[in-house]
C-alpha cells in the first residue's frame, strides 16, 4: 500500500509541476515538452487506479499523435514570444476571476457528491474478472453505440472539411501516375533505328 501511495504522490506531483511549467516556461517548445510530461504522468495515474487501457490510449493518442503536431507547429513558428507576453499581466485579474469561479464550482460539485473514503466504496475501473478493454467495449458498443457512431461521423466530417479547405489540384504540378507508368511499353516510346556510321539520324 505504501509503495502505491508513494508512486501516486510522485506522479501527481510531477503532473502538477509539469502543468505549472507549461504556462511558466519561456520557450514555447519547452512548454509543449512539459505538456507531454504532464500527459505521461496522468497516464501513470490512470494505470495506477487500474484503468490501464485508458492510460495507454492517453499516451498513444495524446502524446504519440496530438502533441507531435503541437510540437510541429510550435517549432515552426517564428514569433517573438517575449513581445507576445508583454501586457500578459493585464489579463491576470480576469483570468484569476474565471479560475476562481471554476474552482468554486468544482468545490460545489465535490461538496454535493459524497466522496467515498474507503477503497471498497470507490468506483472500480473495471468489473471483477473482466479486462479493461472488454469492459470498455461492452459499454461502447451497446449503451453508447449511438454516441460512438456520432463521434465517428463528426470525425469523418472533419476529414472531409480539412481536405476541402486545403487540397488544391495545381495544373502545373506533375504528379506521379503509377498506372500510366506501369502501362507504358517499350514499343510506345522506343524506336530502334539502324544508324550508319558518320551519317546521323
Amino acid at each position: 500500500m505504501t509503495a502505491a501511495l508513494f508512486v501516486f504522490y510522485l506522479l501527481a506531483f510531477v503532473t502538477v509541476a509539469a502543468a505549472v511549467m507549461v504556462i511558466a516556461a519561456r520557450n514555447p517548445v519547452h512548454a509543449v515538452l512539459f505538456l507531454i510530461l504532464a500527459f505521461f504522468n496522468s497516464a501513470g495515474l490512470l494505470i495506477l487506479v487500474g484503468a490501464e487501457l485508458v492510460g495507454m490510449l492517453l499516451i498513444v493518442v495524446y502524446v504519440g499523435a496530438v502533441a507531435v503536431l503541437f510540437l510541429f507547429v510550435v517549432m515552426m513558428l517564428d514569433i517573438n514570444f517575449v513581445q507576445l507576453r508583454e501586457g500578459f499581466l493585464q489579463y491576470l485579474p480576469v483570468g484569476a476571476l474565471v479560475g476562481l469561479v471554476l474552482l468554486v464550482e468544482l468545490i460545489m460539485v465535490l461538496g454535493t457528491r459524497v466522496v467515498p473514503t474507503t477503497a471498497a466504496a470507490m468506483p472500480r475501473a473495471a468489473p471483477e474478472g473482466v479486462t479493461n478493454a472488454e469492459a470498455l467495449g461492452r459499454l461502447l458498443y451497446t449503451d453508447y453505440f449511438y454516441l460512438f457512431q456520432a463521434a465517428g461521423v463528426v470525425l469523418l466530417v472533419a476529414i472531409v472539411g480539412a481536405i476541402t479547405l486545403t487540397l488544391r489540384h495545381r495544373p502545373d504540378a506533375r504528379r506521379q501516375d503509377i498506372a500510366a507508368q506501369v502501362r507504358r511499353r517499350p514499343q510506345d516510346t522506343l524506336e530502334v533505328r539502324k544508324v550508319r556510321p558518320r551519317s546521323g539520324i
Binding site: 460545489m108 460539485v109 449511438y146 463528426v154
Partner: protein, 483 residues
C-alpha cells in the same frame, strides 16, 4: 438496456449512408461533373429524408438505448428543417459556378449538417446533444470558409469556427456540470428525478450548468449577448452559405433549446425564464436598432436574424404549450422568409459581379418588377405587417407571452417591431420610389426564381390556409409540454 433499436432513426441512418456513398462517388467522378451532379442529388436526398421522417410517424419512440427520441415535436421540426435546407442547397450552385468555387463537397457537407440538425432535435441525452451540435456546426464552418482564396470568406470561416468552438465549450461545460450534480445524462431520468411534488430540488450547480447550456444555445442562435459573430460571418461568407446558415440550423437549435428547457428542466421554468427573458429583450432591441445604420444587405439580414431570434425567445419565455407552438410557427415562417430573401440577394448580379449593398436595389420595381414584388412581400413579412405570414408569427408569440403574464415583454416586442419595420420598409421605398440604378443581369436561374417566388407566395397566402402549419405546430407543442 438491451438490443439496438434503430427503427425511429431510419431517416437519419438513410441520410448518413447516402451522404457517405455520395462522398465516395464524388471522389471518383471528374471534378466539374461531380460538382454539377451533386446538388440536385442532395436536394432529392433531403426531400426523401423528409418523407421518411413523415413515414416514421408522430408516435413517441426511442432508439439506441434512449439516446435518440423521435416524437411529433421532432418530426415537425425535422420536416421543416429538411425542406428549408433543401431550398438552401438548391440555390447555391449558380453562385458557386460564377465565383469559380464549385466543389462537390459543398452539398455533401450540407447533408452532414442536416444530419446533425436531425440529431439535434432528436437528442435525448446530454452527450447526444453535444455530438449533434458538433456534427451540425462543423460542416457549417467549412462551408463558410469554402471560398478559400477570398480573404473575407476565410476570415468569416475562421471567426465562425473559433467562436463556435467557444460555444461548444460552453455547452459541454454546462452539460458536464448538470451531469456532475445530477449523476445522469438522460433527459427523461433528469425530468423524473426532479419533477413532481416533493421531488428533490435542482442542485445549484446543475442550475449553473443549465445557464451554460442556454448560453451555448444563444451562441448558436446568434442571440444577444452572444451575437457578435453574426454580422461579420453573414457579410464575409459566401451568400449561399449564409442562406443555409441563417435558416435551417436555427430551426434545429431552437428545437434543441425547446426540448432541453421543457423536458428535463420543465419543472424549473421559473428559474430559466429570467435568463430567456433577458436574452429575448437584448436580441429584440439590438436587432431593431443596430440594423438601422447598415448599408450592406447581408449585414442587415444578420441583425434581422438577431431580432427574430429575440422574438422567438419571447415565446420560449412563456414556457407554455401556446408558447412552444408560437415558437415553432415563428421559426418555420422565419426560415422561409429568410431563405426567400437570400434567393433574391443571390439574384443581385450586375455585369457579372455580385453586389450586396442596399443602394443597389434602388428603383428595382422598374427594372425587374417581379423580383421587386417578391422582395417587397418578404420585407413586409419580415417587418410583421398584416396580413402577411410574419405578422401571424409575431402575433402567436406575443399572445403566448401575454397569456403567461409577460405583458411588458410583449409590449417591448411590439415597440421593437415598429422600430425594425423602419429598415425593412426603407428597402421597399428604395425599390419603388427611388431613381433606378443600373439593371441587374438577366440570370437564367429558374431555381432562384422558384425559391423566391415560392417563399413570397407562402408569406402572402399564409392567411388563406394557415391551418396545416398551425395544427401541426400545435400537435408538436402538445408532445413537448403535455397538457
Amino acid at each position: 438496456m438491451t438490443g439496438l433499436v434503430v427503427g425511429p432513426a431510419v431517416p437519419e441512418a438513410f441520410l448518413f449512408l447516402v451522404a457517405t456513398l455520395l462522398l465516395g462517388v464524388g471522389a471518383f467522378l471528374p471534378e466539374r461533373r461531380a460538382a454539377e451532379v451533386m446538388t440536385p442529388v442532395a436536394v432529392i436526398v433531403l426531400l426523401v429524408t423528409a418523407m421518411l421522417v413523415m413515414a416514421v410517424g408522430p408516435g413517441r419512440a426511442f432508439a439506441f438505448g434512449g439516446h435518440f427520441v423521435h416524437d411529433g415535436f421532432a418530426a415537425f421540426l425535422k420536416v421543416v428543417a429538411l425542406v428549408v435546407a433543401a431550398g438552401a442547397v438548391l440555390v447555391a450552385p449558380g453562385w458557386f459556378a460564377d465565383e469559380r468555387t464549385a466543389r462537390f463537397e459543398y452539398p455533401i457537407l450540407a447533408l452532414f449538417s442536416a444530419l446533425g440538425m436531425l440529431m439535434m432535435v432528436s437528442a435525448n441525452s446530454l452527450l447526444a446533444l453535444y455530438m449533434a451540435v458538433e456534427l451540425h456546426s462543423l460542416p457549417l464552418y467549412v462551408m463558410a470558409a469554402i471560398k478559400r482564396d477570398s480573404l473575407r470568406a476565410s476570415e468569416a470561416g475562421l471567426k465562425y469556427f473559433v467562436l463556435g468552438a467557444l460555444a461548444s465549450g460552453l455547452l459541454l461545460y454546462g452539460a458536464s456540470l448538470v451531469y456532475g450534480f445530477t449523476g445522469t445524462l438522460m433527459f427523461d431520468e433528469l425530468a423524473r428525478a426532479h419533477a413532481g411534488a416533493g421531488a428533490a430540488p435542482l442542485p445549484l450547480g446543475a442550475l449553473v450548468g443549465l445557464i451554460f447550456l442556454v448560453a451555448g444555445f444563444a451562441f448558436k442562435l446568434a442571440a444577444v449577448p452572444f451575437h457578435m459573430w453574426t454580422p461579420d460571418v453573414y457579410e464575409g461568407a459566401p451568400t449561399p452559405v449564409v442562406a443555409f446558415v441563417a435558416a435551417a440550423p436555427k430551426l434545429a437549435a431552437v428545437g434543441l433549446a425547446l426540448r432541453v428547457l421543457h423536458e428535463p428542466f420543465g419543472a424549473f421554468a421559473d428559474e430559466w425564464r429570467q435568463v430567456i427573458v433577458l436574452v429575448a429583450l437584448g436580441s429584440m432591441i439590438l436587432g431593431a436598432f443596430a440594423a438601422i445604420g447598415q448599408t450592406n444587405l447581408k449585414r442587415l439580414m444578420a441583425y434581422s436574424t438577431i431580432g427574430h431570434v429575440g422574438y422567438a425567445f419571447v415565446g420560449l419565455a412563456a414556457g407554455t404549450a401556446t408558447g412552444v407552438q408560437g415558437v415553432l410557427v415563428y421559426m418555420a415562417i422565419y426560415a422561409v422568409m429568410t431563405l426567400g430573401t437570400f434567393a433574391c440577394i443571390l439574384m443581385m448580379r450586375r455585369q457579372g459581379r455580385y453586389v450586396e449593398a442596399i443602394d443597389d436595389l434602388a428603383g428595382l420595381s422598374r427594372t425587374d418588377p417581379l423580383m421587386a414584388l417578391a422582395l417587397a412581400l418578404l420585407m413586409f413579412s419580415l417587418a410583421g405587417i398584416p396580413p402577411l405570414a410574419g405578422f401571424f408569427a409575431k402575433l402567436y408569440v406575443f399572445l403566448a407571452a401575454v397569456e403567461a403574464g409577460l405583458v411588458w415583454l410583449a409590449v417591448v416586442g411590439v415597440l421593437t417591431s415598429v422600430v425594425g419595420a423602419f429598415y425593412y420598409l426603407r428597402i421597399v421605398k428604395l425599390m419603388y420610389f427611388d431613381e433606378p440604378a443600373e439593371a441587374f443581369d438577366r440570370l437564367r436561374r429558374p431555381e432562384l426564381q422558384l425559391v423566391a417566388a415560392a417563399s413570397a407566395a407562402f408569406v402572402a397566402l399564409f392567411l388563406l390556409w394557415p391551418t396545416p402549419l398551425l395544427s401541426a405546430a400545435e400537435a408538436a407543442a402538445r408532445v413537448l409540454v403535455g397538457s
